[in-house]
Every structure is written in C-alpha cells, then in structure tokens.
C-alpha cells in the first residue's frame, strides 16, 4: 500500500494538527512562556502580541469586524455553553424562551435541557428529511418571550448546511439574539458573521487542523451589542466573559490554523468535494439499497453519510477498523446506547440510523485512500449482507415492516 494504514476519515470528530500549526506553537511552550496579562515585562508583551495576532486571524476567518469580538474558550462545547447559558442569564428579565433545532450537537441540546430545568422554555424545531430547518417554522416558534435563536451552521453527522443568512435576517427583524454553532463549518466553508447576521458564533480549533483544548465564541459588539453572563468567574480575562489564563500555545496554533484555512479554503473544499463525490459514486453505483443521509447539495464538501440497509453500523466498522477510521450512528457505537438522534430526526426510521456510516474527509486524504476505502466498504457490506437475515427476507420479497418483531 502506498498510504499509511489505518486511513483516517473521521475528520468531523477531530483533525490532525497541521505541521505548520505545530511549528508556530512550540516556542510558546518553552522560551515564550509569558502570561499575556503580565503588563510589565517583555514575557507578557510577547505573549500578548501573539494572542492578539491569533485573535485577528480568527476574526478574519469568520468575518468579524473587530478582533475584540473573539473570546477564546477551551473549545466548542464551552463556547456553546457560554453563548446559550450566558444569554439566558443576562437577558432573563427580557424573556425566558429559546428556539433551537432538534439536530444541534449535544452541547447545544444539553445546555438547553439544563435551562429548561431552571425554568426556561425551549422549542426544538424539527428538520425535514434532508436535515434542513424551515425558517418559517422558526418564525412560528418565536414568541414575545424569545431571547435567543440557536441554530447550527452545518450538522456534525450529515453535514447539512442550514439557511444561516435567512435566520440571521429573521433574528434581526425580531430583535432576537442569534447564536450559531459553527464548529463544523468554520475553516471549511465561508462563514461571515457580518454578512450572515450572526450575533454569537461558536467554533473550535481541533476541527480545523489546530490543537485540541481551544475554541472561540464570537460575541458581537455593535448592532446589537451582545452581553453575556460569564460561566467562569475570576480575573476578568477576555472582556470579563471568560476568566482564566489564556493557553497561549493553543491560541497561537488556533490562529495559525485559521490563517491556513482561510488561504486554502477555495482549493481545499473543491478538492475534498471531488474526493467525496467519487467515494459516494463508488458506493451508490456498486450496492443496492444504500441511502444518502442529509441534503444532496446543501452539505459540507467533506461529509458523506450513508445508510447501508440490512447491515448494522458497528459491524461495518468492525470489518474495517484495522484499516479505516470512520464512525456510525448505530446505538452500539454511542456512549448512550441510543441510535443517532440526528438520523432519527430525518424520519428515516431507527433501522436506518443503526445502519448509518459517516465518512469525513480531511486535508491530508488522497485519491488513492478514497479508492481503497470505497472498495473495502463495498466488500465488507456485501459480506455482512450475505449473513443478514433482513437482506435475505428483503430479497425474498418480504416487507420487513410487515413482520411482528419481538424486541429483544
């Protein structure tokens, strides 16, 4: 094999740090170790300058007017928590209602669930079979108590890209703060908080070839000026919204990763889309009863989510896990032992959630790897179908839904 095995195709869970990113981080662990809040010596100045540069780079990537609008956090989860809980607490006298979608990632859903226990009310707007949220449904859900719309940019499982500019427009029209979880989109596709009318935007470094442990929340300062109750109290760093010593090496790496992503995005997204389309064509043309999950066009260029009817996702991964790293929406692969709520929200039925596989390509994947993975997936699914009682029944013409199943 001309490539390294196992092949990583799980870039929506994390990405490798780009070597160019690592290079700029290293000095900040050793000789440039200063605290950016040390105002009276060169160690502090050096660190502060590096953090400022990183802040500018992240701001530029997301179209923020002012780098001060970028608040560094420990990652996407913290940014999402800060946005949702910070707004709920700060604006509690204005209202207590939040509108979000059913397919947000866990951080968004769980932050909302906690707020519900604390007396907020939350509307979880459903999505269509392609994973798209209907802006009119959001409009209908808004009441005079609504203080926040929280909608993800692109889904972490199916890659569907939501109509963010339309939602931004609606938020502006209604005078409601709009938070967008853009952890899967930033660095991959164009994101512009000004053009898209986003007031709060979460992102994370490790999904864009930066280090784990750092992310950011964009917090709009003008039209409107968004205020947040901090989740962490302390020295008042990050404009008082996120106390705690800034992890300078991580932030510097995040900045470099943002700069690289901005530069290579047009070429990289086109290249990954071509590879993704090749993988999709290989699989769809070689196997029967395979279903694309998500929207056929409006999705991330590196994402491919397919349900292989009559085979269970974990068994597919098991057949490949020495060679390929991918993930599944099957219950057996989740910590909760529930099948993917995202696939289930598409209304395709839980059996197809159990059979779903997500391929997520990244910067370092090659055409050769895609050919290899496509071929192996087809082999493994074919083998598993030969031992699937459901495939046998389907081939005999039995409607599987007509059988009275006794759940085990």
């Amino acid at each position: 094999m001309a490539f390294k095995s196992p092949i990583f195709m799980d870039s929506q869970s994390t990405t490798p740090v780009d070597p160019r990113v690592l290079d700029v981080m290293i000095p900040f662990f050793t000789e440039k170790f200063g605290h950016p809040a040390s105002r009276n010596h060169s160690f502090g100045w050096e660190a502060e300058a590096a953090v400022d540069q990183a802040r500018e780079r992240v701001a530029k990537l997301i179209g923020a007017r002012d780098p001060k609008e970028v608040v560094f956090t420990s990652g996407g989860t913290e940014a999402i928590n800060l946005a949702i809980k910070g707004v709920a607490e700060m604006y509690r006298e204005k209202g207590n209602h939040i509108v979000t979608t059913a397919i947000e990632q866990r951080a968004g859903l769980d932050a909302c669930k906690r707020l519900e226990r604390l007396g907020c009310s939350v509307t979880y707007v459903p999505v269509g079979p392609d994973g798209l949220v209907d802006v009119d449904e959001i409009r209908k859900a808004i009441s005079d108590k609504t203080i926040l719309l929280s909608v993800m940019f692109a889904n972490n499982e199916i890659g569907t890209i939501q109509p963010i500019p339309e939602i931004g427009k609606l938020a502006k029209e209604k005078g409601i703060i709009f938070h967008c979880d853009a952890t899967q989109a930033v660095g991959k596709i164009p994101v512009d908080v000004e053009a898209m009318g986003v007031d709060l935007l979460s992102c994370t470094a490790h999904l864009m070839y930066g280090p784990k442990g750092v992310g950011a929340l964009y917090v709009r300062r003008k039209n409107p000026r968004v205020r947040l109750a901090p989740m962490i109290d302390g020295g008042g760093h990050e404009r008082g919204m996120r106390s705690g010593t800034i992890p300078v090496p991580l932030v510097v790496g995040f900045g470099k990763a943002a700069e690289i992503c901005r530069e290579v995005m047009p070429e990289e997204s086109a290249r990954l889309k071509a590879l993704r389309d090749r993988l999709q064509d290989m699989i769809l043309s070689s196997l029967d009863e395979v279903y694309l999950n998500g929207h056929p066009e409006r999705r991330l260029p590196h994402n491919l989510n397919i349900s292989f009817a009559y085979v269970e996702g974990e068994s597919v991964l098991m057949g490949l896990n020495k060679e390929v790293a991918i993930s599944s929406g099957s219950a057996c692969t989740s910590a909760t032992l529930e099948p993917s709520y995202v696939i289930a929200a598409l209304g395709v039925g839980s059996e197809l959630a159990h059979s779903s596989i997500r391929f997520a390509l990244h910067r370092f994947n090659t055409e050769e790897e895609v050919e290899y993975v496509g071929g192996r997936v087809i082999e493994v699914v074919t083998r598993l179908r030969e031992m699937s009682p459901l495939y046998e029944l389907a081939k005999e013409g039995v409607d599987i839904k007509s059988i009275q199943w006794k759940a085990g």
Binding site: Y310, E312, S315, M318, G319, E351, M387, K406, A407, G408
Partner: protein, 138 residues
Amino acid sequence: MAYSEKVIDHYNNPRNVGSFSKDAPGVGTGLVGAPECGDVMKLQIKVDLSTGIIEDAKFKTFGCGSAIASSSLATEWLKGKSIEEAMKIKNTDIVNELKLPPVKIHCSVLAEDAIKAALTDYREKWAKKETPAGSTAS
C-alpha cells in the same frame, strides 16, 4: 472498545452462516430481535428425527460484531446436542466464552432467545407429542 479475540475470530470466520428451508423435516427456526433495535438473529436447527439429536445448525444475524459472534458460537454449540441439552444453553455461558463486556450482554440474551425460539419451533412442528410451550403455568 476492544473486542476479545474470540469475538474477532467469529466475526471474521463466522461458523455455519446460511439457511435451511423452513419446512424441511426436522428444521426449527427462531427469528428474534427487531430491526429498529439494531439486532435481528435468525437461528435454525436441523434435528435427526430418528435420534432426536441436532445434526446441523445455521444462522444469519443483523447486528454488531458481538451479536454475530454470539449467534455463530450458538450454532457451534448446538450441533450434536439433544433438544434437552440444547435447552440448557444459557446466555451467561456465551458471555463467559466470548468475554463480552456488560454493554454487549444483550447480544448473548438475544442468542439464547434465538436458541429457545428455534427449539420451540422444532417441537411445535416435529415433536407434537410434547406439551406445547406455554400451556402450563408452572
């Protein structure tokens, strides 16, 4: 999650994959689980009607590697046993043999259910002299 060597072996080299005709003499079929739960097992036995011994067994499973391994192992164990002996196979035997972790115990339970369902089906079809299952409350 790491799989035990035995699970990997059964997954890579499943024993006795296949099907018998449901109506063939001496064949009992069990179909348990549900597609929406992510596990369905079909397990079949073929009994030598003159001796009452299970001479062959086959399975097909929709499920994770542990479910495939549990049913594959079950078919191995069934061969050569009488119906009474086969009835004594417990899910805990499968757990111990395959070293299944707690989250995979349901796979072994499903395999035991599949064995019981196949044996019951066999009795109903081919050993009518025995008391039908469920007719006594004891």
